[in-house]
């Protein structure tokens, strides 16, 4: 009895002793700051008012910081910027999923002979390009590109998945100030390679636009309106089916439907021809009502209100991003003839120094890094865990590739996707500081300032510690909502 008791005490002692170094750090650098930050958020601590020259008292001001924050238009603008940059997420996740699926295919193709053939093909492509190059002026460039392509192919044929995976992952691994500086110079409007590549095609595009009737090109806006309504129809139909099957609850469906209708509403504000926006909205509303009628005429809904909310929101927001991109393209089509009519014709954008292009430029860089990200590795691991029997059974049923993807792969990957999305939203809300600080300093005119950059500039540059803490707690509240959402629905979703 006494020996077992002393053993327990010894165990507790050892347990605490081993934990102690980490626990101390945890207390000093996590728990204390957390409480401290909470207090700060309700104080008026500002280094401009409280320093060695001016000694105004620091006192509690209640919710003043938060009220000021909510009334500050910049806060909403920066929140908008943060959300804008997060529109990249569905595309990034889709890209990393596609990359993972491609990588998980058997690249060897079975026979050794085919392997050799592939290698020969790669070498032939390379040498053909080499021969072509010898006759031309800028031979060095072509030779370089050809040998680069050939070496990638040879590496891929020899190393298979590992080589491609390594190449895909490198941008993510090296991500940081160095790569951002690299991209800053790639985006340079005058000396950057991106614009020097774009210039040629844009000249020919200018000619095409000038020669064709402008109404034809401007009708792209109408096409985009149709596509937006079509997207809404597709999404709503999916929602309706899952709703009747009892997979999604009614609240989940309503919430997701809002996201699907949102682009049509935005079209009214953004479209240069208001009529297009109204027609889009009308079409979307018709589609919604139509699906609603079908749903109500069908059987009763046995799902609980919040069933499948994660999955339905994921689908809806992805479709929404797609719709928004289509809308943007449509608006671009409308403005294209006017832009081409200028004496310079179409010119490549100024990227980081242009108010409208700075965010897309950052998203482009983000996309480059996101294809081969950790998400791809997670998907790769998840793909190996999908039971092979499911595919074999589907093969016997004569399922198509696409059918197999939607009915087997996608549902099997759902837990991984959910994890990736939740993590992505949490880090997306906090993101954007580094690239803004390195590439644009939050500019031009605050177009790339995200919430995290706002915290930095308010807290560390201006010195409004209380106010910056209030911003960080707003951010925290948003992250908390997502985390709670994850706890409440994540497990259920994963277990389904």
């Amino acid at each position: 009895m006494s020996s077992s008791r002393s053993r327990t005490i010894r165990n507790v002692g050892a347990g605490v002793a081993f934990l102690m170094p980490n626990l101390l750090g945890f207390l000093v650098f996590t728990l204390v700051p957390l409480v401290f930050s909470m207090v700060l958020a309700f104080s008026n601590w500002d280094l401009k008012l409280h320093n060695q020259y001016k000694n105004n008292s620091i006192h509690f001001i209640g919710l003043d910081n938060f009220i000021r924050l909510i009334n500050e238009p910049n806060f909403w603008k920066f929140l908008g910027n943060t959300l804008y940059l997060m529109l990249l997420m569905p595309f990034a996740i889709a890209a990393s999923l596609i990359a993972a699926i491609l990588l998980s295919k058997d690249l060897r193709g079975g026979s050794r002979r085919m392997w050799a053939t592939l290698l020969l093909t790669a070498i032939m492509v390379g040498s053909l390009l080499l021969l072509m190059a010898t006759g031309q002026g800028r031979s060095g460039m072509v030779i370089m590109m050809a040998s680069l392509v050939a070496s990638i192919f040879i590496g891929g044929a020899l190393g298979g998945q590992t080589v491609y995976r390594t190449l895909f992952y490198i941008p993510n691994f090296t991500a940081g100030v160095a790569t951002m500086l690299l991209w800053k110079h790639l985006f340079n409007p005058q000396s950057g390679p991106i614009n020097s590549v774009l210039r040629g095609p844009l000249v020919s595009l200018t000619d095409v636009v000038r020669q064709s009737p402008s109404s034809l090109i401007q009708s792209g806006l109408w096409v985009s309106a149709g596509l937006i309504a079509l997207g809404a129809w597709f999404g709503l139909r999916r929602l309706r089916k899952a709703w009747s099957d009892g997979d999604y609850g009614s609240n989940a469906v309503i919430l997701s439907a809002v996201f699907l209708i949102l682009p049509a509403v935005l079209a009214i504000f953004w479209s240069p021809v208001p009529l297009v926006g109204w027609v889009t909205l009308a079409a979307t509303v018709c589609v919604t009502l139509w699906q609603l009628v079908i749903a109500i005429r069908g059987r009763d809904f046995h799902g609980r209100p919040w069933d499948g909310v994660g999955s339905s929101l994921m689908t809806a927001t992805s479709l929404m991003s797609l719709q928004l991109v289509v809308l943007g393209l449509g608006i671009a089509c409308y403005h294209l003839p006017a832009m081409a009519a200028v004496s310079d014709g179409l010119t490549p954008p100024n990227w980081l120094t242009d108010y409208d292009w700075a965010k897309p430029a950052m998203m482009l860089m983000g996309f480059w890094g996101a294809i081969g990200s950790n998400n791809m590795l997670l998907y790769l691991a998840a793909l190996t865990n999908v039971p092979q029997e499911l595919y074999e059974a589907a093969d016997i049923d004569g399922a198509t590739r696409l059918g197999k993807f939607w009915n087997i792969t996608w549902p099997q990957l759902a837990p991984t996707t959910f994890f990736i999305v939740v993590m992505g939203v949490i880090s997306g809300l906090q993101g954007g500081f580094e690239q803004a600080r390195v590439m644009t300093q939050g500019g031009p005119a605050g177009s790339t300032t995200t919430l995290s950059y706002m915290i930095y500039s308010q807290g560390f540059e201006i010195g409004r510690l209380g106010y910056a803490s209030a911003v960080s707690w707003m951010l925290f509240a948003m992250v908390l909502v997502i985390t709670l959402f994850n706890w409440k629905f994540g497990n259920k979703y994963v277990n389904d």
Partner: protein, 330 residues
């Protein structure tokens, strides 16, 4: 990739397989006729070639920015904006009998007032980064491994609740803690010191979590055997558990080192004197003070990116494993 699953405790990855002879039988029965087999092989050839083509194209997109970076880093300034990526001439300097591109020498040569009038101490930044990252990594791996040992192998009341508390802090946005932490650093007089960079980085909930995952997979019987032999808790930790969790240690070491090597926010607010700048801060400083010298900047960027790429290619096995394991339960 299949090796990743072996670490996860209590998870069988072996699919229920048919006995080999039965599988063989099935293969024979399902064998397509000869002509169909050939067309299938041909289709396979095309699809595999197509697959390589797509994967190769994506790889090319991934690599091209780095190719531009490398080529620009050896160019003279006048050719930076040229559509031809290849430099017409590469200016080299003999260093210890080896020709080195001039730009790389210039980046390091901070005594040369013509190029580097503000005296950027690139070699210094390099050293600072490695110094800080190495110390932070060593400390973090040690504290994490110890805490993980306590969470995974020792039994004490309240342990699991404590671990849950650790886990939940992983969800906290780090930004919330930045301002108070900075005030703590001011009050401790650690602003603009390496200690101020290293100490907050020495503790991590993620590291503890990752190490715990690894240590859970080590059989419990080892502890009992060691205890019977009269080994204390520390000896058990140091001589048995730690060596057995080597893959985890390596993974965490790489993660932490890379994280600290790339760390930006904290050094940016903490460091004041140029002599203490780490590489990311130094690069930023380089860019803002001589933004026109793209060729030199690219040499500097290359110098900071290439070690990472080499490290990654060498150690990717551990990294991939670690990332996949770290996400098993977020």
């Amino acid at each position: 990739m299949s090796t990743t699953n072996t670490i996860q405790p209590g998870q069988s990855t072996e699919p229920a397989s048919i006995p080999p002879d039965a599988a063989e039988m099935e293969k024979l029965l399902n064998r397509p006729p000869a002509d169909r087999r050939r067309s299938r092989a041909l289709k396979n050839y095309f699809s595999v070639s197509l697959l390589h083509l797509v994967l190769g194209a994506i790889s090319l997109v991934m690599v091209l920015p780095f190719v531009w970076m490398l080529l620009t880093s050896i160019k003279p300034l006048g050719e930076v904006g040229s559509t031809n990526w290849i430099p017409s001439t590469v200016d080299t300097v003999q260093k210890a009998g080896v020709p080195v591109p001039r730009n790389y020498v210039d980046v390091f040569d901070y005594n040369n007032p013509d190029i580097n009038h503000r005296g950027i101490q690139f070699a210094r930044f390099y050293w600072n980064s490695i110094f800080v990252a190495a110390w932070a990594t060593f400390l973090q791996v040690m504290t994490s491994a110890m805490a993980a040992y306590s969470f995974a192998r020792l039994k004490w009341p309240g342990r699991d609740r404590m671990f849950l508390l650790y886990l939940s802090t992983m969800m906290l946005p780090g930004l919330v803690m930045m301002i108070p932490n900075f005030q703590i650093m001011i009050s401790m007089g650690l602003v603009d010191t390496f200690t101020g960079l290293i100490v907050p980085a020495a503790f991590s909930a993620f590291g503890t979590f990752l190490m715990r995952q690894f240590m859970l997979s080590i059989p419990q019987s080892l502890d009992e055997a060691a205890e019977i032999d009269g080994a204390g808790k520390w000896r058990l930790f140091w001589d048995i558990i730690l060596p057995l969790s080597r893959p985890g240690l390596i993974t965490l070491t790489i993660f932490t080192f890379m994280g600290n090597y790339n760390s930006f926010f904290w050094p940016l607010v903490m460091l004041r004197s140029e002599a203490k700048y780490t590489l990311p801060i130094g690069l930023l400083f380089f860019d803002s003070s001589q933004g026109q010298a793209t060729h030199l900047l690219m040499a500097a960027v290359t110098m900071s990116v290439v070690p990472m790429i080499v490290l990654f290619v060498l150690l990717q096995k551990y990294l991939v494993k670690g990332i996949q394991l770290g996400a098993v339960k977020g």
